[in-house]
Amino acid sequence: MSTRFAAREYHAVEAEGLRFLYLVPSAAVFCADDAASAVLDRLETAPDTLEGIEGALSSRFPAGEVRSAVADLVEVRAIGPEGAEPEPMPVKAPPEGIPLKTMVLNVTSKCNLGCTYCYEYGDDRVVEAGTMPRFMDEATAKQSVEFMLGEAGVGERCHLTFFGGETLLNFKLLQSTLQYALERAEAEGKRVDFSLTTNGTLLKPEIIEWLADNEVGVTISIDGPKEVQDKFRVFNNGMGSYDEIIPRVRALLRRHKSKPVGARVTLTKQNLDVIGTFRHLTDDIGFWEVGFAPVTTADGRDYAIEGEAYNEMLRQFEELAWEWLEYAVEGRHHGFSNVGETIEEIHKGFSKSHPCGAGVGMLGVSTDGNLGLCHRFAGSEEHRFGNVTDGVDRAKQVQFLEEHHVAYKPDCHSCWARPLCAGGCYHEAHTRYGSTKAPNLHYCDWIRSWTDTCLQVYAALAVRNPEFLKHFEH
């Protein structure tokens, strides 16, 4: 009896009148022609034999076309023999020796703002305040640079990010560390570039000069127009920070042209005006790009985004994504960085074993020089991966990566978006479910809808201006 074929795991989107397949788990994107599309239509209804498919489609396509469509779809595993077991996921920790690409240096755990929702100080903090030195000292910073250069690949560019607390509270350390890193990198034949995140309150002319002269990438944490910014991003005395930071940010944007300056917005239930915020930060203030992230929080906090609020956020994300497409078709920069990042991952065909590079190509360093999974866990004893003097605790790292493989998240196994999501942020999971191993089930629908939109945008761009995709091939 001939083999009966059935649809395997893929997610189909329509764009520009064509059907595109996002194959799972390979994350390959193919465009199906009419014959292949008709074969899929047929098999999505019910499994069938080759003869059965040919017969059903004989009025529309010659048998040869149907046969080659079936052959192509079988080869890329969009379809396969009915009842075939899904292939087992290989569970492997990433091989040793993956170079460190990004090191995030928490130069201080102190902050001059008291944002209600802060994951570092708020109700959901991972590290208790007072357990860490408030400021990183110069010896630790230099040792961190040595560690980074030792772990970085030969000839590769590695990236040093300064983080806090409020990063600029330790500006003196930034200056000496950057200088030291440049000298040491040159001696080692390696390349290093720099960035930092700041709340903008301490930007002043000499700091702005230094940022511009040293080509330091800057991200400003800012939530939007005054009434939004001042709701959560307040000084410890409760005063809003908008009026304080805007003139400083404008001065930065005027002077600092050597690296794009981005804004990073935290969305809360009280602040869901994504489009209004985007317009304000790009058109009115002049940011090159704006990225949005929903606040990380345990369930039930009054600023947590829940239920219908996710749909509202998604609707606005989608509107900006389609606007991004029209810009990209004309070869123009848009500035909604959430869509650009996802499009890049789709274009490269990322199929992730782990949700992010934390613990692999990226590590966080706490003020006392301990290595953490990422900057959000820096200082947490439970998530310590060694320190900058003795190096990475390989055994702990391998154990962590094996235990956190998407293969051990059964909830993800039936989800077509897992090549891009792989369960989502460890920190979010830790905050929400008390374990870094938990998949972030509270935003699955949201992730699928958003990924679907990005796939449509990607496919439309691949038809209308494929040249633009070269931007993502670095």
Binding site: F30, C31, A32, D72, L73, V76
Partner: protein
């Protein structure tokens, strides 16, 4: 791949892999009736090897192609060369007179094709 087109970088890698597998399978068992052969005008020593024309179109002479303007004026050889192509390089009796047996002097009045092609005449067996 004929019915699906690779769009992203991963798909290009999948496609290369599939094409290499298919080529290996063809080489291993050319007579396998399940192996549907693609009809291609190029052959290659492997998935990454150079692709060269095979069979009687070992060289692409004028007549098979146009110049960059879509015409025949700018070709590297005169287009009339095509009249000889299929019976000098390889015997192809359907297109030109059979110069081996029945029309040995078919080109005798045509010393230079570009100038003399009008002197080539029909041959009646």
């Amino acid at each position: 791949m004929r019915r699906i087109k690779a769009i992203n970088q991963k798909a290009v890698r999948v496609e290369r892999y599939v094409e290499a597998e298919r080529a290996a399978a063809r080489q291993a068992d050319p007579a396998d009736p399940d192996m549907e052969l693609d009809v291609v005008g190029l052959e290659s020593s492997g998935p990454d090897g150079p692709q060269i024309p095979f069979g009687c179109t070992l060289i692409f002479s004028p007549g098979w192609e146009t110049d960059s303007g879509g015409g025949t004026a700018g070709l590297c050889q005169p287009v009339e060369r095509d009249l000889f192509d299929c019976h000098l390089g390889c015997f192809w009796p359907a297109q030109v007179p059979d110069q081996l047996n029945n029309a040995a002097d078919w080109t005798s009045k045509c010393a230079a094709a570009q100038k003399d092609w009008r002197k080539l005449d029909l041959v009646f067996p």
